[in-house]
């Protein structure tokens, strides 16, 4: 078995799953890890303890996979972990036993993604059953991935 650290860091492109960034350089709409979860920053404000105190950053993020809200306050000199977030489109080939068959760029078929629940799942099924050619947008970060959108194929 390989060293777990190395294993954790070896994404498909060879980049690490996260990288550090000073709090002050984070930006709204960017990503950050809050409470161990990859989040999109929806609110970012600074405050200080006392008039002559140093800045603290208040971060509110939405978990990119579960939609859950996470918050954190930290000194603005702090280094925060930022997840490498990737968004890719795959052509939908089929749906089998609640799993999506997606075609990768290199022609391989990817079959490990579950059909999402809720409206998005229904939309995918309807479109597929209507025989529309659709692309599924898949968001991935920290070894987790999840379909987030469906759209018609261009061309």
């Amino acid at each position: 078995m390989a060293d777990p650290d190395t294993d954790f860091n070896s994404g498909d492109s060879g980049a690490s799953a996260t990288y550090p960034m000073q709090c002050s350089a984070l930006r709204k709409n960017g990503y950050v890890i809050l409470k161990g979860r990859p989040c999109k920053i929806v609110e970012m404000s600074t405050s200080k303890t006392g008039k002559h105190g140093h800045a603290k950053v208040h971060l509110v993020g939405i978990d990119i996979f579960t939609g859950k809200k996470n918050e954190d306050i930290c000194p603005s000199t702090h280094n925060m972990d930022v997840p490498n977030v990737k968004r890719q489109d795959f052509q939908l080939l089929g749906i089998t036993d609640g799993f999506l068959s997606l075609m990768k760029d290199n022609g391989d078929v990817k079959e490990d993604l579950r059909l999402p629940e809720g409206d998005l799942g229904k939309e995918i099924v309807t479109k597929f059953e209507n025989g529309e050619d659709v692309l599924i947008s898949v968001l991935s970060a920290m070894d987790e991935e999840c379909p987030v959108a469906v759209k018609p194929m261009t061309k």
């Binding site: 709090c23 002050s24 350089a25 006392g50 008039k51 002559h52 800045a55 000194p75 603005s76």
Partner: protein
Amino acid sequence: MMAAVGAPEVISQLESAAKVLMAPPSMVSTEQRQHAEHIFLSFRKSKSPFAVCKHILETSKVDYVLFQAATAIMEAVVREWILLEKSSIESLRTFLLTYVLQRPNLQKYVREQILLAVAVIVKRGSLDKSIDCKGIFHEVSQLISSGNPTVQTLACSILTALLSEFSSSSKTSNIGLSMEFHGSCKRLFQEDALRQIFMLTMEVLQEFSRRENLSAQMSSVFQRYLALANQSTHNVTLKPTESWREALLDTRVMDLFFTVHRKIREDSDMAQDSLQCLAQLASMHGPIFPDESARVSYLAHLVEGLLSMINGIEMEDSEAVGISNIISNLITNFPRSILTALPNELFSSFINCLTMLTCSFGRSAALEEVLDKDDMVYMEAYDKLLESWLTLLQDDEHFPRGCFVQPAVQVFNSYIQCHLAAPDGTRNLDRVTRLHGQLQRHQQQLLASPGPESVDRKVLDDLYEDIHWLILVTGYLLADDPQSETPLIPSEVMEYSINHSTEVDINTTLQILGSPGEKASSIPGCNRTDSVIRLLSAVLRTSEVESRATRASLTELLSPQMGKDIVWFLKRWAKTYLLVDEKLYSQISMPLSMAFGADTEGAQWIVGYLLEKVINNLSVWSSEPELANDTVELLVTLVERRERANIVIQCENWWNLAKQFASRSPPLNLLSSSVQRTLMKALVLGGFAHMDSDTKQQYWTEVLQPLQQRFLNVINQENFQQICQEEEVKREIIATLEALCGIAEATQIDNVAVLFNFLMDFLSNCIGLMEVYRNTPETVNLIIEVFVEVAHKQICYLGEFPSLCNQYYKLITFICEIFPEKIPQLPEELFKSLMFSLELGMTSMSSEVSQLCLEALTPLAEQCAKTQETDTPLFIATRHFLKLVFDMLVLQKHNTEMTVVAGEALYTLVCLHQVEYSELVESLLSSQRDAVIYQRLADAFNKLTASSTPPSMDRKQKVAFLKSLEEFVANVGGLLCVK
């Protein structure tokens, strides 16, 4: 239908409905509640409900039903006014008044509603003079003289109801009458009835002031009276007409209010009302005064009363704001000539009292701040008084010479003292040395016992607070903050420096200036130096202590607030003093000109010092957004004027900064994006300083080219499509886009062509980027932001560069055509700017640009039609564009090519906003006076849409419309374009 039912049935129906409405939410269903509401609504709308209502009032025991009956009477009286016999209205009014009089224990809200009905009757009656106000005043005055407190309170309630009904403000009842009606009622009322009410109020007050206990009801009567006494509702000062002379100039009136205040001042609510009354009296002006002397004696009486009131009492917290209002009104509304005409002794007592009050409020305000109180009454009062001082001092030449010097010094000193820590009032202002010492002590302490908890910050924080205020005061003293004018050294400062220049040793002054590392007092001859320069050098010394502390790794112990104050001061100072332009002044101080003038060593040294400070701050304080922001702003100040920039670019540090920023490595890449943008802006501005062409070439090679190079390297990689989502790539792209925004921000009239050309290359590439990153909204937004920023900063100049302008609009149109769905998702500000660019391009640029913008409209309108959301900003924007395009096609001359493009846009917009389109046509038609033209136009419009009714986004219909449009334009073109 209500009338058909017998009164007892109505009552029981209403009473059970009231029960439902009053029940707790859990007990009744929504339907039951709605039904009950409906019963009351239709009851109030029923025809001639007077008999039923009277019956209800006399028999029902349910308060809410009584309330509704009163409301029904009020509404019905107004509704059926012209049908009713005047005598029956009169008897209705008498009935209501008697009813209230006989029932002293009515619920307050029922009583008020009944009296409101009375007031509405009086008001409606006053308009056709059918009801005489005098009758009711006679009754009220009888009530007042009855000697019975309950009855007197009722009289107050009646007056209050009348006042609030007539005041034509938001308090006016909603009884379906026009604003005009309310306005004319108010005017009639003011001319006549108001003074009677005032006299009655005074009677009540006289009556009550003889008593011990006063009711709140009464105090609200005079509050309302004063609100009404104002001629205009917007004006808060008292400007009564001549007819009030007798009533208001009577000294007993003012005395009465002072007496009343003394009696009730311990009740904070009532005290506020009575002080408000006094403040109104203090604001009195206008034709009421027959002449100057009447005004002087009025003011004298007021000031005497005020002084004896203030001196005779221990002030309550709740009085502070009210009293400061009286003083502020008095100073603002009485002209200088009246103030100076006061007897000397009285005037100086007044000024002394004002000084004393100001200092005391200041101290209490500081205390409030320390205690962190929610309600900062003293702060508000203190601000009011300081403003009054400003008003006084602004034209101090009207006053006896020097009469304000002592008080002003006192006020100033107390201001400083309030903000400096104990030991209070110390004259030793060398707190920087103490800070230095304290920091050193902490350093040793830290070395002895590491760990941040071991340091007591109290002493430090006190010092920081003192220095904070000292820097602020110094900054405001030395320089103004002009918004767009050229900043000038304040003439007082200049004069002061000139007057003392004979005693000043220039060399020592320069030595102190150049030695921020040393204590000023350690330099021999330090008291023979220029004070203005010494103030700067004191701040530089503070700055130096700060910088050294950061080098000694004591940043943790420093105050970011103080750091911010320092750069704030330096920026303000540099704008005014650095490279002082002698041409702008009639006389100039030698020391200032020798220290900071053009071509002086002093100026060069300071530029170098400030630059070093900026660089140090950006690396040490990257985590303090505000401080970093103020720091880059200081940098912008250094380069935004050519003369200063010329010195800056000779500094090696500047080039290092440029290179370091271009390399995107720490610490500069840790800065927040807004700071990075401003830094880019500064670097670009610096590039327009004077340098020989080789140097310039080299500079741009180091600043702008790396940006382009890195960008092209990334996007031209063969596998860019595959790696575009990788974090490093995304960061590179985002940094580039941020930098582009910064470059756009650096636009000035003389560099717009160069910068636009440079940006244009990027902008064309950005379109492709949008395609690549269409999945990543944050990147797409940033790209559009670049476009908008370019538009915002450069478009006002672009008219001078037609070809650039065309290119820009081509890109904008392209974005709208390719990504219409992104546009509604833009942040509000961005969206507005983009729409504004489109409108500007359509209306104020060349016809080619105008065409491009019209082309952009069609996909945007189609996007709206697709989503079918009618409340989005884009939908609203398209409505505005409909009118623009309509006017353009119908009212303006244009070429045929334009007709086609505009026609397409118009058609889609019409589909989207059919109602608005019909309205446009209607209003155009209705403005035609000539019947022949009217007919021709009407026919033409009918024909225009005949083939496409109702309009829909169908290609065939659209083509038909365009064809009819050609004919339309030919038919009516000349008709309307004549104007």
